[in-house]
């Protein structure tokens, strides 16, 4: 969705849908290859059910109830089984996934949701970073552990007061918070300024940008040391919320 579309800023559905549409556009522009398998399975389930119903409608209309009778019960059962599978797929398998794909910097899966009457975009990113050939020792690309990030941001961050979507802050938010997007689009990574307790987060961010697994190990060592001294070190998975680590 381009910046030319105006939406009603008080419609949460419009805010979410516009953001949901912008996100795959942005990621595919960063050469993330979108994987549509889940969507395609959902569409296949739905359209098969509709086809069964359509066929039943046709033979019922063409030949009447007496002829159609033996086929009706199996068709109805098959339809509702498919319909249940369709709902199950949406609620439990897709579960709000709006993007699944893979890029040079790793695999990425993004779910979004909103809570009623709260103009806040909740985003869950599950990603497996791929580190390109490092600076020194190994030339192979290595895959890091799968990580999960829970992010929240108000829609006001990328919507103007009169309802226009502005891509830049949206992209900056994603690139800055999700390391593998930041690695694919370093220009959009912005740093928050004026927050004293942000250092650890920054270190990890820089590290993910550099993409060197050796540094990761060194940092782990340092963290262990710090934990022994200060007892306050956490893990990297909650890096999105730097502000929470105050002692």
């Amino acid at each position: 969705m381009s910046a030319t579309t105006k939406i009603a800023v008080h419609s949460l559905a419009d805010l979410k849908n516009t953001s949901d549409d912008a996100l795959p556009n942005y990621l595919t522009s960063l050469k993330f290859k979108q994987n549509h398998t889940q969507t395609d399975i959902r569409l296949a389930l739905g359209y098969t059910a509709v086809a069964i119903s359509g066929a039943l409608f046709y033979i019922d209309w063409k030949f009447g109830w007496e002829v159609t009778k033996p086929y009706t019960a199996p068709a109805v059962i098959a339809y509702f089984i498919l319909n249940t599978a369709f709902s199950y797929w949406i609620w439990f398998v897709e579960n709000g996934v709006i993007f699944e794909g893979e890029g040079k910097t790793g695999k990425l899966r993004i779910q979004t949701s909103t809570k009623k009457h709260m103009p806040v975009y909740n985003l869950t990113a599950i990603f497996t970073p791929t580190y390109a050939s490092g600076s020194s020792s190994s030339s192979k690309s290595t895959t890091g552990p799968q990580q999960t990030l829970h992010l929240r941001a108000p829609f006001t961050r990328w919507f103007t007061a009169d309802g226009y979507f502005v891509a830049k802050p949206f992209q900056q938010w994603l690139a800055s918070e999700i390391p593998i997007i930041g690695a694919a689009d370093p220009k959009n990574v912005v740093e928050d300024i004026g927050r004293g307790n942000q250092t650890q987060t920054e270190a990890e961010r820089v590290l993910n940008l550099g993409g060197d697994s050796n540094v990761l190990e060194v940092l782990e060592q340092l963290k262990k040391g710090a934990a022994a001294v200060g007892g306050g070190a956490g893990t990297g998975s909650s890096a999105g919320k730097g502000g929470k680590r105050r002692k």
Partner: protein
């Protein structure tokens, strides 16, 4: 509100599917009810006042068509060969049954004479198995009046379908 023009193919397919699922689910629920009651049209609306005071115009009737041994006093819905509109009347006499096919004579509570004149030419009774759509087992007063309006003013039907379709396609709530 989002236009259809700027949707991706998969989004367009999803929107169309949502619309198709609304229609097909309604149709399949209806067919499921048909199977359960063994009746080609398990819910009918009373169109005439011939059964007053038992049923008024616009009452919604629920039919049951299992157990074909219809007794005198039951209210049945039947189709007359060559006519489209089903009729709701009470059974006043029965012939046969058991090994011979059950035949029924019906009459509207509010009518002076029995239904022999309503039947097809040369027909003096109803054959239970062929003509009757089902016996009335329950009703909701007045709800069916919407369908009477819709059938008397056909343009209402098209307008309503059109609006429903547009809403489903254009909204993504």
């Amino acid at each position: 509100m989002l236009g259809l023009g700027n949707l991706q193919p998969r989004q367009l397919a999803t929107q169309l599917l949502n619309f198709a699922l609304v229609l097909s689910t309604a149709f399949m629920l209806w067919k499921g009810l048909s199977v359960a009651t063994d009746s080609p049209s398990p819910i009918v609306v009373v169109l005439s006042g011939s059964m007053e005071p038992a049923f008024q115009r616009g009452d919604l009737l629920f039919l049951w068509n299992r157990g074909l041994d219809t007794k005198i006093g039951e209210v049945v819905v039947y189709n007359v060969k060559g006519k489209d509109i089903p009729i709701v009347h009470r059974v006043v006499r029965r012939f046969g049954g058991g090994k011979t096919p059950l035949r029924l004579l019906t009459k509207g509570d509010n009518n002076a004479a029995d239904d022999t004149e309503l039947y097809a030419a040369g027909q003096n009774f109803l054959t239970r198995k062929e003509d009757v759509v089902g016996s009335v087992v329950g009703y909701i007063p007045f709800v069916g009046y919407v369908t009477i309006l819709l059938s008397e003013y056909p343009w209402l039907k098209q307008a309503m379908l059109g609006i429903m379709g547009l809403m489903v396609v254009l909204q993504r709530e």
